[in-house]
Symmetry: C4
Subunit: 241 residues, 4 copies
């Protein structure tokens, strides 16, 4: 199997998993950097993640221009993906979602931070990007490269950001990594809402967050990925050597 | 396929989707204005939405009289639909439900407003109709045209209203539109309850709400509709040209 | 079909529905007064409601003695059922459950009352029976007729009661009625918890509760029952004439 | 069927049940003491509980050394199990999980106690083990026998403990018992969070907790186990005589 074939299958699986695990509903998307051309990325045409097939996936340049569109209408917000790949050479996958438990954090100014070891991968704390700050009244969608770059700048070296009134964006070193962080961002947000109602929270210490991040590798990611594939009715493919 | 055939299939699908997505339980209903006669509307006989078949759908005049009832007992609350079609020529579909997260707003006087871009279609803020104000102690059901018109008057030009101790009513320019707004009314209510417990909320600005509404068209509605059809086990029919 | 055959099938269905709708987990039970002998009642052997088959149902005298046990171990708490049938000739079905949202009301002294028209059937307000008041430290189970009668006395003419640290008991004029009230008791409790966190609640007025109760008949009960049967994989049998 | 065969099947079933009932996600594990050698225990290789097959189960010495590993990578945290079996001869099964509702208690210092009779088996109150107290900044994982023994010491004679920022550990006299306590630990935590938001809680009295524990035997455990097996698609095997 070629690297491109592998990534295309991986993206279909990622879409199905994100839908099946409740991280996306009919909206949201996941992309991968093109394995043969780091200046391109792969992203489905505009379609609900739960429905995506391999032939829905389109190749784009980093500025969001389709290479061979063949009538496949793009997601308006493909600029989120392109701008992040442009700024972050370490990033090989991007998830954008409206993960439900993250929304209340984006609109209340309460800071989302890891309180569970499984959630350390969200980073020391999750910033909030507010499109209104620079772009005023919009439909809140990241609809051009200027907005995409502003979002990417706010993310900086971090793995995640919230978007006020909109959702979240997660980056990873692989598709599996970005999906993993997305799932545990949702869980961490849900648990933090519950814990905030109970009293003061002892979050993970900065040192604990670093320790967990440093050991979140294939041993951890693939245990979840195998299970999520099965739950979503998709084959679990071995990683390429 | 005739316009009538299209709408009848669309209504069956809408009922199944609303049940499958948790917007209705065994109660609640969705109607469409008759495509060939704007003084009539189409609504199922009294049956749980998840069970409805095409032959359950009855044609009614706007005052709730069945054209050809054939023993199919009507929903008592068909007057909600008729009164709205009478007052709002722009409306082509109506959903009435007991969507769970909206109920606490109807009984506490807290105003439901959009805090997420997906929820802007509920309108700038959602009013609450209290049957007790004019009709005193009743079973809270909209059981005649006087109650239906009072409700329709409260809705005015808006897309949604809550009903104290009872549920919500949503109107749309199409069946797909009314179902879409109903799903995101429930989500918005759930998220606002969570956010209210955390602190002050930065809702969408009025300008943001208008911008989102202005771009909520087939590109958005059909992405969700295709997915919801599949999830509910119903075919996704192309819109008529 | 005989009245007894009808009720036996109805009880199997009721068990499956209560499990499928999340009102019971592996515990809880539902009984019916014997249609041919008002001094007897019908209740499954000790088994999880989701697993119950027709042959699991045993006939008991009101003091909880099995007529023909054939090795079928009884629920310890059959006395709940017998004591209620003894005191309330109007009651023809009893549900006992650990319905999750009702538990917090039983242990905090907050009064559960109907705030949604669908929940009016729980009665004007739901009392709490505390086994500790008369029986001190026990395993909280209603393990003899003395406890059963004390519970039945607390219920009095009402349709429902909570049991501190334990669950709820619901009575009805038919199996369908008791199941209906049980489902909406759970929903009402969940919604009241949410509303209490938001502010003061405008509950249904006493007059509204009475109006809703007076019109909750077969038109309403069977709409839900047909749907719940289908969801639980059970046939929907017509009521006997 | 040999005792070993019985326990191997029981462990597969326990893994599937814990996943199916929402007590574990892709992480968490359950072990049993070896029925023929109390100095050994049985635990799956590192794999998501929902995926585990009989051949995934490996035999370990109490210090976590595999007897016949055959390439089956172990869970890093097998030391939780070994250290508890070493200290507690009465324990024959151990569950470690990240049960979602327990996490907020572990990070807020609020004490989890039984408020429902079904939850009495969690013990009079659930302590919290904080790995940071003795081991400082770690990945929070119990990665050697020193950490395992420290955790086991904190548990002492109790049935359960929380682990700050990590999860919970439950012990039992059998696999069925440990799974039962795990399920009702999650439920109890969820209900206590809800009740805490409503007001002061009347927990079970110490005498009530003792009474419930003393009568939680096969009559209770097997009613749930039969049901959970069926729900998880696993056969319900009779206990060995």
């Amino acid at each position: 199997m070629s690297k491109l074939d592998f990534i295309l299958e991986e993206l279909v699986t990622a879409n199905r998993i994100l839908a099946n695990e409740g991280i996306v509903d009919s909206f949201g998307h996941v992309s991968a950097r093109h394995p043969g051309n780091p200046q391109h990325f792969l992203l489905s045409r505009a379609r609900a993640p739960e429905r995506i097939e391999r032939d829905d996936i389109v190749e784009y340049t980093l500025d969001g221009t389709a290479i061979d569109e063949r009538g496949r209408a793009p997601y308006l917000e493909r600029f989120i993906h392109g701008a992040i790949y442009e700024m972050r050479p370490d990033v090989h996958a991007v998830v954008h979602n409206h993960s439900p438990s993250t929304i209340p954090f984006g609109v209340t100014g309460k800071t989302l931070k890891p309180l569970l070891h499984m959630c350390a991968s969200i980073g020391h704390e999750v910033p909030v990007w507010d499109s209104h700050d620079k772009f005023g009244d919009t439909a809140l969608l990241v609809s051009d490269m200027a907005m995409g770059r502003d979002l990417a700048h706010l993310i900086g070296p971090r793995p995640t950001t919230l978007m006020r009134g909109h959702g979240a964006t997660v980056v990873g070193r692989s598709v599996r990594h970005a999906v993993f962080v997305s799932v545990y961002l949702e869980l961490g947000a849900k648990l933090q809402m519950q814990a905030m109602a109970m009293g003061d929270i002892k979050f993970l210490t900065p040192g604990e967050v670093d320790k967990v991040i440093s050991r979140t590798g294939p041993y951890t990611l693939n245990r979840a990925w195998e299970n999520w594939c099965w739950r979503a009715g998709r084959p679990f493919q071995a990683e390429l050597g």
